[in-house]
């Protein structure tokens, strides 16, 4: 805790200085000069950012960086990745070691306001939940009074857990285990009644680690909000616009039904003015952002729309349905600001 306070204080000082020094467009110009986007990613979180068997980074967080590179440089592969731990991530962004941080980072007030960062979008709505064995005979988290709970220490997960039980006037016994493999092993061997982490994590643990996934259920209560999204440093509004609209274009494309496969056809034949604006048939959007008019076309052609990225990474790797991350028209929260 103490280290975090010191770090935050140091980070704030630097952020203040950096904000004064940074000139508009400095990051953007830097990226154009070197010809690639330096992207901070998780050191390994399947579905979000993980290296595949060939050592290439993959995931929905990785796709945000690829989209930004496609929009700015016209090539989704013009990205270099810097794997970062949770403790390093903000320093790396503030010191200019990376251009964008896309590392399942929860947007919060302090991070946005005090650390000199700008959250440019939410590419994954997550929240903390509970995994229990069916044999426990519990159907709601409110029945968990007195339960033994396996949890990883030092995370917001642990704090949310304490908050939730205190608010409900219930007691619990935490079993704190640092290593995720050991923590899940402890849960599946019956050392604790409940395992808690973000819902995306619970789903993957249930499908991949359980001997028989059907013996376990995720309780319906989600006890915290974890809006995860890409972050840039304050001070270069033009660059933060590029990342924001690169991600937005992916969602907008899904709303319009533009996919990697049909994008050429849509560009040539669509009469929908929204699609024509998005794909640069009607020029103006690229110019407004200081980008090539084909910026969104490049994203969709090379990376795909949001739904495709989600499908390919989160659904395929973790077996997670869209849930909160469905489009607003399907009852989810993904709602693109209009590209116009």
């Amino acid at each position: 805790m103490k280290i975090q306070t010191i770090l935050a204080a140091g980070a704030m000082t630097v952020a203040a200085v950096a904000a004064q020094n940074a000139q508009a467009g400095a990051v953007l110009d830097g990226i154009k000069d070197k010809g690639f986007v330096q992207c901070g990613v998780n050191t390994g979180l399947p579905g979000f950012s993980a290296a595949n068997a060939e050592g290439k980074w993959e995931g929905i967080d990785v796709d945000v960086c690829r989209a930004a590179a496609a929009a700015l440089l016209g090539d989704a592969n013009a990205v270099q990745y810097t794997p970062l731990t949770a403790a390093q991530r903000f320093t790396a962004l503030q010191s200019g070691e990376i251009d964008v941080l896309s590392r399942n980072t929860t947007a919060t007030t302090t991070r946005d306001a005090k650390l000199g960062l700008t959250f440019v979008g939410i590419n994954y709505y997550d929240g903390q939940g509970f995994l229990i064995p069916k044999a426990l005979g519990v159907s709601s988290a409110t029945e968990l009074d007195g339960a033994t709970v396996c949890v990883e220490p030092g995370t917001t997960t642990e704090l949310n857990l304490a908050d939730y039980f205190r608010a409900k006037g219930m007691s619990f016994e935490p079993v704190v285990i640092e290593n995720i493999n050991e923590a899940t092993a402890a849960f599946f061997s019956g050392r604790c009644d409940v395992y808690t982490t973000d819902a995306s994590g619970l789903a993957s643990i249930r499908t991949q680690m359980a001997e028989n996934p059907d013996d376990y259920v995720i309780l319906p209560e989600i006890i915290s909000k974890e809006p995860l999204g890409p972050v840039v440093a304050q001070g270069d509004e033009q660059w933060s616009d590029v990342v924001r609209w690169a991600f937005t274009a992916m969602v907008e494309a899904e709303e319009y039904g533009v996919t990697m496969e049909n994008v050429d056809d849509m560009k040539a034949n669509s009469t929908n003015p929204g699609i024509q604006r998005l794909l640069g048939v009607t020029p103006g959007m690229g110019e407004a952002l200081g980008l090539d008019e084909a910026w969104a076309y490049n994203i969709i052609k090379q990376v795909g729309n949001y739904g495709e990225s989600y499908e390919k990474n989160v659904t395929a790797k973790l077996g997670l349905e869209r849930g909160l991350n469905a489009l607003w028209t399907d009852g989810g929260l993904q709602y693109a600001w209009p590209v116009r």
């Binding site: 060939e54 810097t82 010191s95």
Partner: protein, 367 residues
């Protein structure tokens, strides 16, 4: 004749009777040893068969998740399927011959240097080998010249990274540690104080703190836009840390050299450096071979800590592979067992070499 009478009688009889005599003397000598022997046998019989069954008999090498799901034993298929990721990390797939070549070259130089110690005529070749070899390794890893594509070192990983971190660590920590040890023995107060403070401060903090500071705090103090490479920061942290420990090992060696040796140097009118180089250090360093190698082994294993600053050493790439696909995650025991085996192999070789070196350098005394 009287000399021979003191020796134990030569074993006689058939192999079986000799075996019985031997085991009576060594294994069943009294009730306590008998219980210990039987207990140990029972323990091994309880321990070993399940391990053999798991690791060999029921294991599978099939590099697919389905193949592993069918096997009741170890899933070595995890290692098999992800071998290149485990060995080379996120280094671009098509360019992985470069770290492979660099690693072979580095091993060659290390083995060459170690072997050359025995043959004085080859000793002169050690320094040129490193001076030529290290730039070649750097060119192979980084590229950017001779038509090799440039590879940022945030992509380096696996065994090459572990070997680079530890061998560069040894090369720089050794002389630095030696200087610190000499500094601590110095008669000049300024040098002595600086050395003592440095050694005590560094020994007083864990390596993980040094790495954490180097990676998280240090960049905050640099001017805007200036970044020092993450790998370089970690490497310097490891060197500074190991040097402090080596300094104390060397001090032990220096203190064990009899005072008369120093005086002998003085009486021959040798300068400080001459007497150190020709008289003191050869004796002092030979005395501390075991603790020095001990420090190196511990440093080699400490390089795995770089995982906390987002670098993937060999253990880190095993973790990376475990997370490459959630379906592999449950085979972490196999992954860690493989990493442990490789680490053991390297550390054990270091220990064996140290024993050999001691024997080699003690020949003068045995005569």
């Amino acid at each position: 004749m009287s000399e021979n009478a003191k020796l134990p009688p030569l074993p006689t009889g058939t192999f079986a009777t000799r075996a019985i005599t031997w085991s009576k003397k060594n294994l069943f000598d009294g009730w306590f040893n008998t219980i210990l022997t039987l207990g140990s046998i029972a323990f091994l019989m309880w321990l070993i068969p399940p391990i053999v069954e798991w690791a060999i008999v029921n294991a599978t090498l099939s590099p697919t998740i389905e193949g592993c799901a069918e096997a009741t034993g170890a899933c070595w298929g995890f290692v098999n399927a992800n071998l290149r990721l485990i060995l080379f990390g996120t280094y671009p797939f098509d360019e992985q011959w470069r770290p492979l070549l660099a690693m072979i070259l580095l091993m060659g130089i290390i083995c060459g240097s170690l072997g050359a110690v025995k043959y004085p005529s080859f000793r002169k070749a050690i320094i040129p080998m490193w001076v030529i070899g290290v730039p070649i390794i750097a060119i192979l890893m980084w590229g950017g010249v001779f038509g090799l594509t440039y590879v940022q070192n945030s992509y380096w990983g696996g065994l090459p990274l572990t070997l680079i971190l530890s061998s560069i660590g040894v090369i720089f920590a050794f002389p630095f540690g030696l200087l610190l040890a000499l500094g601590r023995q110095s008669h000049m107060p300024a040098i002595k104080t600086v050395s003592v403070v440095y050694i005590e401060v560094i020994r007083g903090v864990p390596l993980i703190t040094v790495l954490f500071m180097a990676s998280v705090m240090f960049p905050l103090f640099l001017p805007d836009g200036v970044t020092i490479d993450k790998l370089l920061r970690a490497q310097i942290g490891i060197i500074l840390f190991t040097a402090a420990y080596l300094a104390e090992v060397f001090r032990g060696g220096l203190q064990a050299v009899p005072r008369g040796q120093f005086e002998a140097g003085d009486s021959l009118a040798l300068s400080y450096w001459q007497s150190m180089r020709l008289i003191i250090l050869p004796q002092a360093l030979r005395l501390v071979i075991p603790p020095t190698v001990n420090s190196f082994i511990s440093m080699f294993k400490d390089t795995t800590l770089v995982v906390i600053i987002g670098l993937f050493d060999f253990l880190g790439t095993v973790k990376l592979a475990l997370r490459s696909d959630p379906a592999w995650t449950k085979y972490y025991v196999e992954g860690y067992a493989f990493a442990a085996a490789i680490f053991f192999l390297i550390c054990f070789s270091m220990a064996k070499y140290s024993a050999y070196l001691e024997k080699e350098l003690r020949k003068g005394e045995r005569r």
